[in-house]
Symmetry: C2
């Protein structure tokens, strides 16, 4: 993908193309790289997501808002956004990093999303960056069910079982495969009563456990 | 102080006075209180301070910027700002909280500063909130010496001594006085070689230690 195509996806045409280029430059490639922009973008993202949640959920207390936000700005979520934007093909990486698959490493991709947001903020101000973030996050926000979504699936499953005085679930790692930057994990979630065993897969053990718990909840609540 | 006088100090006249009132209402007083505004204001503050540092220190790497920001947005700093704004007299607190000195409690005052920033942001947008923060923080920013200031005084003192192969300083609590919400601490910092003993005072043991270390550095570098 070209930078022009990415600009269309982001909905922002950079006045200062050097900002755009820097945002896509990993430190392994040389200077200027995107780490300072990432610092800035992280804070812009936090603020914009806080605002979106504040306005969307007018009754939610501060603790729930914080928890929802933490879920939306953590590496998993940013990595997903980066994949959607096909950022991997656009990154400028040093040769070693490129060969070891850096262009698909979740941390590098997540950082680049933050750096891009920081670059848009410098290029055009807070309101424009806020609008870009609102569009990027629209699907994630639409998926939120407050009162539910602020607790993760493992927590909800545990509470469901505790509320019924049942033993807690056990999670077990079944398989981990793939190179370092694109590992896949498979985890089982076993419940004694009612007897149930579900499977989850994901890019980290944590994600796989959450998926397995979510699958268990679907069965239990069906 | 009246709210009108506070508005002048802040440099912002609220279009929506109910936002202003809510920002100054502690949860002990009743609803609506300022906790949601505090959540929002915290993120606005982080973003604005990140921006001020990013622009002021064009060469500083991301880690140093993060450290500087952490110092500027933590409770001590916000408490200082609240004292400067005389927020204590303006807060709406429940009776119990009022009697136990809540209007001078650093955490309550720091939270109210964040809530006020959140209220200004909702009332007039990011740029206005950013400008208010820039004015509030101007003295603190002018005091920063990057390369120095990103490390606290205790760290700098330790490094100064280690670099000269001298034994590390010892800190000792000499006195703590005052009611819970306005305690004063006095701490000594003792150095073996060159033999030196300095004293620091402050609203927490940590602050008193930093002041004592800063005083030791002044002597050692003189």
């Amino acid at each position: 993908m070209s930078r022009a195509a990415l600009a269309v996806k982001l909905g922002h045409e950079f006045a200062d193309q050097s900002l755009f280029r820097t945002a896509l430059t990993h430190r392994s490639f040389g200077s200027p790289h995107n780490e300072r922009l990432e610092f800035l973008g992280d804070s812009v993202l936090n603020c914009a997501v806080a605002t979106l949640l504040f306005k969307r959920f007018g009754d939610l207390p501060e603790g729930d808002l914080s928890r929802l936000r933490a879920n939306l700005v953590r590496q998993d979520a940013l990595h997903q956004l980066a994949v959607g934007l096909q950022l991997g093909t656009m990154l400028r990486l040093g040769e070693g990093e490129l060969k070891s698959g850096g262009s698909q490493r979740p941390s590098i991709l997540a950082d680049a999303v933050e750096a891009l947001i920081g670059a848009i903020y410098l290029d055009a101000g807070f309101e424009v960056a806020h609008r870009v973030i609102e569009v990027l996050y629209a699907p994630l926000l639409d998926d939120l069910k407050p009162g539910q979504a602020q607790k993760d699936a493992k927590t909800r499953l545990q509470e469901w079982l505790q509320g019924r005085k049942k033993p807690l679930p056990r999670y077990q790692l079944l398989a981990a495969s793939g190179a370092a930057h694109q590992q896949r994990f498979e985890v089982s979630c076993e419940i004694e009563n009612p007897p149930l065993r579900t499977i989850g897969q994901g890019a980290s053990r944590r994600i796989a456990e959450q998926v397995a718990a979510e699958n268990a909840l679907k069965v239990l609540k069906a």
